[in-house]
C-alpha cells in the first residue's frame, strides 16, 4: 500500500510536467492545426537555459526559470513568425516538414553550444520529507504545486479575459474570429508565446530530478502527442487529464509491471483508448 501511495505521488509529479507540455502543444494545435513537432526542442532548450543560468552564471533557481520562460517564449514566437506564418497558405504537410526541420536544427544547435553530455541540474530544494511512509523531495512537491498553479492561472486567463477568449475563438473558428474583429496575427503571437513558456516551465521544474541533454525532448514530445490525441486534439481539459492519466499509468506500471517497459505504456494506452474512443476522450468538449 505504501508503495502504491508513493507511486501515486510520483505519477502526480510526472503527470504535472506532461500536462504542461501537452497544454502548450494543444494550444498551438488550435492555431496551426498540425502538431508542432518542434515543441519538444523548445522544452529541451528551456532546460538548458535554466541550467546555464544556474550553473554558469550562478543565478538563483527561480530567476533562472523566469529568464528561461521569457527566452523560450520569444523563441517560440520567432518560430511562428519566421517559419509557420510565411507558410500559412501552404499545405499541412509543409508545416509538418518545417516543424521537423526546426526540431533537428535546434537539437543540433544545443549540441553545438552545450555538447552531447548528460548534465545534472542542481536544485536548492533537495531536502527529503518523510510523510507517514511516503518519501518525497521538496523539488517534487514544488513541481506538483507550481504546475497546478500555472494550470489554474492559464484556465483563468482563457476563461475570464478577452485575450484568452480570443485564443479559444481562433482555435474554434478562425474566420469567425476575424469577423468579430480579432487580430489573428496577434492571437497567434500570444499563443506561441504561452506555449513556449509552458514548455520552459515544464523543463525547468523537472530537470533537477531528470537530466538535461540534447535529446531530452524526444520522449516528452512523443508522449505529449499521445496525450493530446487521447484527450482530443485542441482540447484543454483533455490535455490536463491526459497528462495525469499518462503520469499515473507510467509510475504504477513501472512498479507493478516493469520499469524497463515504462516508456511503452504511453503507446499501449494510445492504442487502447483510440480503439474504444477514436475521437479521443474530450474530442468535442472544448474548454
Amino acid at each position: 500500500m505504501d508503495i502504491f501511495i508513493q507511486q501515486l505521488f510520483n505519477g502526480l509529479t510526472i503527470g504535472s510536467v506532461y500536462s504542461l507540455v501537452a497544454l502548450g502543444l494543444t494550444l498551438v494545435y488550435g492555431i496551426l492545426h498540425i502538431p508542432n513537432f518542434a515543441h519538444g526542442a523548445l522544452y529541451m532548450l528551456g532546460g538548458y537555459v535554466t541550467l546555464t543560468m544556474m550553473v554558469y552564471l550562478g543565478v538563483n533557481y527561480w530567476i533562472s526559470i523566469l529568464i528561461s520562460i521569457i527566452t523560450i517564449g520569444i523563441l517560440s514566437v520567432l518560430m511562428d513568425r519566421l517559419v509557420f506564418h510565411p507558410l500559412r497558405k501552404s499545405t499541412p504537410i509543409q508545416h509538418k516538414v518545417a516543424a521537423i526541420g526546426m526540431l533537428l536544427f535546434l537539437e543540433a544547435l544545443a549540441q553545438l553550444i552545450w555538447g552531447a553530455d548528460y548534465r545534472q541540474m542542481p536544485t536548492p530544494y533537495g531536502q527529503v520529507i518523510q510523510f507517514a511512509d511516503v518519501t518525497l523531495t521538496v523539488q517534487r512537491l514544488i513541481i506538483v504545486v507550481a504546475a497546478i498553479a500555472v494550470m489554474i492561472l492559464l484556465y483563468l486567463f482563457l476563461k475570464k479575459t478577452f485575450m484568452g477568449a480570443s485564443i479559444l475563438a481562433m482555435a474554434q473558428n478562425r474566420e469567425g474570429a476575424s469577423l468579430v474583429g480579432i487580430n489573428t496575427n496577434k492571437v497567434a503571437v500570444i499563443t506561441f508565446f504561452i506555449a513556449g513558456t509552458l514548455a520552459a516551465i515544464g523543463a525547468s521544474l523537472t530537470s533537477p530530478i531528470n537530466l538535461v541533454f540534447p535529446g531530452m525532448g524526444h520522449l516528452v514530445i512523443l508522449k505529449a502527442f499521445v496525450i493530446i490525441i487521447i484527450g482530443g486534439m485542441g482540447s484543454i481539459p483533455g490535455a490536463i487529464l491526459g497528462g495525469y492519466i499518462l503520469g499515473f499509468s507510467e509510475s504504477i506500471g513501472a512498479t507493478y509491471i516493469s520499469s524497463d517497459y515504462k516508456d511503452i505504456i504511453a503507446f499501449v494506452l494510445l492504442i487502447v483508448i483510440l480503439s474504444i474512443k477514436p475521437q479521443g476522450i474530450f474530442a468535442k468538449g472544448g474548454v
Binding site: L168, Q172, S178, L179
Partner: protein, 235 residues
Amino acid sequence: MLKLVNLTVKYGNFEALHRVNLEVDHGEIVVLLGANGAGKSTTFQTISGLNKPVSGHIMLNGQSIAGKSPDKIVKMGIVQCAEDRKLFQQMTVQENLMLGGYVHRGKKSRLRATLQEVFELFPILYEKRSNPAGSLSGGQQQMLAIGRALMAKPEFMLLDEPSIGLAPLIVEQMFKSIQQINQEGTTILLAEQNANAALSIADKGYVYESGKVVVQGSAEELLANEEVRKAYVGA
C-alpha cells in the same frame, strides 16, 4: 455610405466579381439577389477584408478600405454575419455574444447593455445563454450569428443568406428581426435567394449573374421587373 467602385475579385484565374458597382446609403436595407456562385458572398468576403480585390475600390464614408485586415474593418463599423455563421461551436451562447463585442472590450458596462438589447431582440438566446452554440437549432444559430454581429454595434451589417435552411415560419420571424435592427439605426446589406421576402423589406436591390451586376433598382422596380420575377420570385 458604403460604395463599391468597379470592384474586381479573382480566385486564381477565375474572375468571381467583374467590375461591380454598388451603393448603400445610411439607414437603407439593400438586397443582393442571385443564384449560388453569382458573387454575393464574394462581395461580402471582400468588403470584410477576407479577400483582396484585384482592382476597384471599396469606400466607407469617403475613405478607401479595400485591402485592410478584417479586424480593422470590424473596428470601422462593418460587421459580417456569414452564410455558414462561423460561430464558436464549443463556447456558450453568452460567450459567443461577448466575443461579438470584442472591438468594444474596454467598455464593459456598454457591452452588458448591448447584450441586454440582443437578448430582448432574441429572447430564446437568453434562455439558452449557458448552452454551447453547437447545440442550438439552425434558426437559433442564425439568431446567435446576427446577435453576435450586433454586439459590435455596427454601422453596416452584412447579412449573408440568413434564411438559408430555415423553416418558413422562422424565416418570416428572421426578416421581422432584420427590419427591426434596421429601424434601430443599422444599415443592412442583405444577400438572399428568397427574393420575395427580401425585397418586401428592402429599399433597393442588385441582381447578380456570374460575377456581374445585371439589374439594379428600387425594391418596387425589381418586383415589377419581368425577368427578375421569373428568375427569383417564382411567379
